[in-house]
């Protein structure tokens, strides 16, 4: 018997009175029989947009009725997204109309993390950033105390069409090198592995491939366009044989033709064994390697002499040796095999070598730069503006990547950066963090340390659309307009069927939010002169240059040398977009782009509708299958790496083995199609699909421990502990557990996300891989106990 009816009561509060008063919260009044408004009465339009719910930027049309976005429909003109919108794409309306959205600028009046903020105007907010308040110092004071060392400011930004703008503002204009890019908690090693081997990441031509090995990439649940759409229309004997490797039985495995439940982090052994078979049995494409390979003979000796046999690999990976032989032979004898590159956060510390090995193996098959293989395609070039970047003499170097083999000056390593700051090991103090569209408390492993890190900052500024966990530790919060409320810089999408895509604003920015480029401009304008004064005070090079200058000359120097921080945004995004397109393609193209949201040369001739479900974007002979030709190189023995102490060829080391202490479990991370990390967890339409995350635990193990479905268990690692409901299933191995990333929000302001589920970043240990300092996500062992 139900004890409580926890619904809105008749007599409680004004909510019910509105119902009685006839002004109901829904468009249908209980007491009236009116049909919905006639289509002819309401004004409706379809505005092209690019979805911002994840990295894919699918194109759609926003159906706007009377100024309200009612539905998001797929855009049939964009080759990349293939005329579809995933669940998050459809739910974008609930990010736009999220009632918890940041509506106006906020300034902290309480302590960090307690959620006490004051509503202020934009001017007051910019002022607070510049001059601070009684609770925190402004950037001017900090730079003054640090003698204009711009590196005292760190910044981070989540992926998006306006990411580059923020990088320009903070990195180029304000001049700090300390950019902790989200790439170091994501696919840094994958990109690096492929770039360093075949020169680019490439795209898998899954419409024409006939054999696919997909390892650790869960395309059914981590949707990437157009791979997901192509892959699952050709499986099950319809032309593409899919062999999936994954420690757990994901939806991709459910749609695959074969599954190997590989031990986490041991993919390298598998690939090396495949390579061994290909080399030993001489199944590889000799002509191709002769023409394009660099250092193949070294690798051949390396693999054969190290004995990377399938028998050896089967002990490490848990995959039977005959299966490895079978797979290698099938792969090499297939007409168009692809070893899928994958793109996800790093599983294990050998990830860079793994991706190199995968790229080399793909090279051995010869299936590169042609139909059915990994192609490099073509990008439609758009004019790029030059940024007039000022030179700051006082700025010091990055410190976080000194301990990694290949320091990436631009993007750094989140974990190293944060840990060094927290442990006080930095050569100079880092005192301010400017963050945009990023939630490190959820995204970076070891949340406890991230909290310490944010608390150590003197100034935290956040530009975001939602009051995320991280925003609650910030001093000034600037509300941004969501992707449906703004026009973004026009972007070119390359590969097989390149196109240029435009995002137009479906509605005007709600509340007091502003589009990011406007914020950059206004912030830059506010900071420009005061920071310039600070530079004049401490920067010796500038002082030398400007010695004895008159005010007008100084002003000219200031402008010419890029010290006017706002000059990038003199023209609005809309103007810049039109200029770029008209300059490159002409007026007609701009018209097409504005109407359809997409443009590529000859779009009107090439684009055809075959039926309601299928469109042709480029005729087959016009697709860019082969673009590199002779310039293609497969760098197998990368000698330069050895100088940095990195294996020049993929090599197995004993400590790469998968080991879980008895009684513990290895935590693996992953995705579901309904959520994009932690960015979408407050979206009520998506929460409707999954209320909270559960811990996947093997059914047999659960039975032994007496854990039933929805029992609360406590998961403990060396860095933290969480409580979560259990989901016993056969879909995961007995010594592993899994929980969906992005839940367990700690920000009370996000009322749908708060309190539902658990945050895996709390328990993932902050290990890094040694080459780029990228965060390694799948090497944490945890204890489980029933509560």
């Amino acid at each position: 018997m139900n004890v409580e009816i926890s619904r809105r009561r008749f007599l409680q509060g004004s909510v019910a009175l509105t119902v009685l008063g006839g002004v109901s919260l829904s468009s249908d009044n209980l007491f009236s029989n009116e049909k919905k408004k006639n289509a002819s009465n309401s004004k409706s339009e379809d505005v092209p947009f690019l979805c911002g719910m994840c990295v894919n930027k699918c194109a759609g049309f926003a159906h706007v009725e009377d100024g309200i976005v009612k539905k998001l429909n797929p855009n049939p003109y964009f080759p990349k997204s293939r005329n579809m919108l995933c669940p998050r794409g459809n739910a974008g309306i609930h990010t736009l109309y999220d009632p918890d959205r940041l509506k106006y600028p906020l300034v902290r009046i309480g302590e960090r993390g307690d959620g006490k903020y004051k509503r202020v105007s934009w001017d007051e907010a910019y002022d607070a950033i510049l001059h601070g308040t009684d609770k925190f110092p402004g950037i001017l004071k900090i730079l003054d105390e640090e003698k204009d060392n711009r590196a005292t400011i760190g910044y981070c930004n989540g992926e998006g069409l306006s990411k580059e703008g923020f990088e320009d503002l903070m990195g180029q204009k304000i001049g700090t090198p300390n950019y902790v890019d989200e790439i170091s908690i994501c696919l840094e090693t994958t990109l690096a592995g492929y770039f360093n081997t075949i020169g680019a990441y490439g795209e898998a031509d899954l419409n024409n491939a006939d054999y696919l090995i997909i390892a650790g990439a869960n395309r059914a649940e981590a949707i990437i366009t157009p791979d997901t759409m192509d892959m699952f229309k050709r499986n099950r004997g319809r032309g593409l044989k899919i062999v999936a490797l994954d420690p757990r039985y994901t939806n991709t495995v459910a749609n695959a033709d074969r599954w190997y439940a590989i031990n986490p982090g041991t993919d390298l052994a598998f690939v090396l064994a495949l390579t061994y078979v290909a080399i030993k049995e001489e199944l590889y494409d000799k002509d191709f390697i002769a023409k394009h390979g660099v250092g193949f003979e070294d690798y051949k000796n390396h693999v054969l002499s190290n004995g990377y046999t399938p028998e050896w690999a089967s002990k490490i990976t848990g995959i039977p040796a005959e299966e490895i032989y079978k797979t290698a032979r099938e792969f090499m004898t297939a007409k168009s095999p692809i070893y899928y590159q994958g793109r996800r956060s790093v599983f294990s510390k050998n990830d860079f070598q793994l991706r190199r090995a995968m790229a080399i193996f793909q090279g051995l098959s010869g299936n590169l730069d042609k139909k059915g293989g990994i192609i490099f395609g073509q990008k439609i070039a758009l004019p790029k503006e030059d940024i007039n970047a000022p030179m700051y003499a006082q700025v010091q170097e990055r410190f976080d990547v000194k301990s990694v083999a290949i320091p990436t000056g631009k993007t750094g390593s989140w974990i190293l950066f944060r840990n060094m700051v927290v442990e006080g090991k930095t050569p100079y103090p880092v005192r301010a963090m400017f963050m945009r569209k990023h939630n490190p408390l959820s995204g970076v492993p070891n949340t406890t340390k991230t909290v310490e890190f944010l608390k150590k900052m003197d100034l935290n500024v956040m530009i975001d659309i939602l009051p995320s966990d991280t925003a609650m530790f910030c001093d000034v919060i600037l509300p941004e307009a969501s992707y449906l409320e703004r026009e973004s810089p026009v972007t070119s999408f390359g590969f097989l069927e390149p196109a240029v895509a435009l995002r137009k604003a479906a509605v005007k920015p709600l509340y007091e939010t502003k589009p990011p480029e406007v914020i950059y401009k206004e912030l830059a304008e506010k900071l420009s002169k005061p920071l310039w004064e600070n530079t004049l005070k401490y920067d010796e090079d500038v002082q030398d240059d400007t010695k004895g200058m008159k005010p007008e000359e100084l002003e000219q120097y200031y402008k010419e040398n890029g010290f006017d921080l706002a000059d990038i945004w003199e023209k609005s995004v809309e103007e810049q977009n039109k200029e770029k397109i008209v300059k490159t393609f002409g007026e007609e193209a701009w018209k097409i782009l504005e109407e359809k949201g997409i443009y590529y040369p000859n779009i009107e001739k090439y684009h055809k509708k075959i039926n309601d479900n299928e469109y042709e974007y480029y005729p087959d002979d016009k697709k860019f299958y082969t673009t590199k030709k002779d310039k293609l190189k497969v760098v197998i023995n990368f000698k330069n790496l050895a100088k940095k102490g990195v294996d020049p060829m993929p090599t197995w080391h004993a400590d790469y083995a998968f080991e879980v202490p008895k009684g513990k479990f290895r935590l693996v991370t992953g995705r579901h199609a309904q959520f994009t990390q932690s960015g979408t967890t407050n979206n009520i339409m998506l929460r409707d699909l999954i209320r909270e995350n559960y811990l996947w635990i093997n059914s047999e193990v659960a039975k032994q421990k007496g854990i039933k479905f929805a029992d609360i268990v406590e998961v403990t690692s060396s860095v933290g502990k969480i409580r979560i409901k259990a989901f016993p299933t056969l879909r995961i191995a007995p010594n592993q557990v899994f929980l969906l990333h992005g839940f367990g929000g700690s920000s009370k302001e996000m009322e749908f996300a708060y309190g539902h589920g658990a945050n895996d970043a709390m328990i993932i240990e902050d290990k890094i891989e040694p080459i780029y300092g990228a965060a390694v996500m799948n090497e944490t062992n945890v204890d489980i106990r029933k509560v």
Partner: protein, 422 residues
């Protein structure tokens, strides 16, 4: 007592205080009050629930009320009606009250046709209680339905639907039974005697039609195989209604006729006892045959699955075994009365199982590959059972109040419980 005679019927001249504030009415008021509280809860949940639709957030951007409504919609328990088991305690109660009430009326008509004098003498009281039960059942159904749109039953009827046929059926049935009662209590006995045979035949006929329509209501639901494959549902309803009706008649006799009948009380109880034995035997045999033919999935749930304790311990034992044993030999009347009590409770449980088990087998095995779950983190449901809500139980208690109130009014005004010689 002073009486007024209108159209041959003696109406007791009772004061308002005697009519509305006697002890039975007070008791019914208490029960009704409980029922009204239940109705209040139901109405609140049904009409004053702020739901949240997909477009609401856009129509009221930034509204905090939206947060409350949406949070409830997604993280709350769901609305009043459960999708997998829409028919619940209301249907159980309505089935029980209407079928048993009609059963009483049916049995009395049959007994009168068979010239059982003792029943003829006490018929009016039985019929009045029977019709009160029918009204109590209809009351329960009224709460279950969305009465705001009731007019469409008349403006847009679907004649073939069993649900619709209930409207003309009870529109005719209730006045008809009231007319039967009138015939029994009227002073114009001569005229009454003349048409009594026809009326009694019509009564039997209309009862059979009623049970047929009710059975149609259940067996038209092809999806619920328990109801669809039950052999001759009409007969099952009639027989099971008889068992319950005899229980009601027994208890009623105990409270009403024990003193007023004097020596004849025992013969009334004997009649009831013998009828009960026959009906229980038929019902038991029927159930035994039925469970051989109904869809094995449902049969499994009832006989060997989660319902087995309720079925055997609640229904079979209470409705059939114990009463049968108590009434096997002619002995003290009180045993029959105790048996009646068990029969009432047992047959209620039987109706409960009938409705709840009908929904217990999930519809989600559409593809023949087993039950489906609809979300990643859900348990696969292989058994649908939602225990009744508190508001439903309160409304059921309220229906007892309705029955008591209607009967008391009839009795106070027309003295239907008076033993009358024919």
């Amino acid at each position: 007592m002073e009486k007024i005679v209108i159209a041959g019927v003696e109406i007791n001249k009772v004061s308002i205080r005697q009519l509305l504030f006697n002890k039975y009415m007070i008791l019914s008021y208490i029960l009704l009050a409980i029922g009204i509280y239940g109705i209040y809860e139901v109405m609140q949940m049904r009409y004053f629930l702020i739901g949240a639709t997909a477009h609401d957030a856009g129509m009221h951007p930034g509204s905090h009320q939206m947060v409350v409504a949406m949070k409830d919609a997604v993280f709350g328990e769901g609305g009043e009606v459960k999708r997998e088991a829409p028919w619940s305690l209301y249907i159980v109660n309505y089935m029980y009250m209407i079928y048993t009430g009609s059963g009483v009326i049916f049995l009395v008509a049959l007994d009168e046709l068979l010239n059982l004098q003792i029943v003829k003498k006490t018929a009016a009281g039985f019929l009045a209680f029977g019709i009160s039960m029918v009204i109590g059942g209809l009351f329960t159904i009224m709460i279950d339905l969305n009465t705001l749109h009731m007019l469409s039953m008349v403006t847009s009827p679907n004649f073939g639907a069993g649900m619709w046929q209930m409207l003309p059926l009870y529109g005719v049935y209730i006045p008809f039974v009231l007319f039967e009662i009138y015939l029994l209590i009227t002073k114009n006995t001569a005229w009454a005697k003349r048409i009594s045979f026809v009326i009694l035949l019509l009564s039997v006929l209309i009862d059979i039609v009623e049970y047929y329509i009710q059975a149609n209501l259940f067996s038209m639901n092809e999806a619920r195989h328990l109801w669809n494959t039950y052999p001759s549902l009409t007969i099952y309803f009639i027989v099971s209604a008889y068992v319950a009706a005899i229980g009601i008649m027994g208890l009623y006799s105990y409270f009403t006729y024990r003193r007023t009948l004097g020596k004849e009380y025992h013969s009334l109880i004997e009649v009831l006892r013998k009828m009960a034995l026959i009906c229980i035997t038929i019902l038991a045999a029927y159930e035994a045959i039925a469970y051989l033919t109904i869809d094995k999935h449902w049969a499994f749930l009832i006989l060997f699955g989660p319902f087995k304790y309720l079925f055997f311990g609640g229904y079979i034992v209470l409705a059939m075994t114990i009463p049968y044993l108590l009434m096997l030999r002619e002995s003290k009347d009180i045993l029959t009365i105790i048996a009646s009590f068990f029969m009432i409770v047992g047959t209620y449980i039987g109706r409960y199982i009938f409705v709840y088990a009908g929904n217990a087998y999930p519809m989600s095995d559409r593809f023949g590959t087993g039950f489906e779950k609809y979300g990643m983190y859900e348990k696969v449901m292989n058994f649908i059972y939602y225990p009744p809500e508190r508001s439903e139980v309160l409304v059921v208690i309220g229906s007892f109040g309705v029955i008591l109130a209607v009967y008391t009014l009839l009795n106070k005004l027309f003295s239907v419980s008076k033993v009358r010689d024919h």
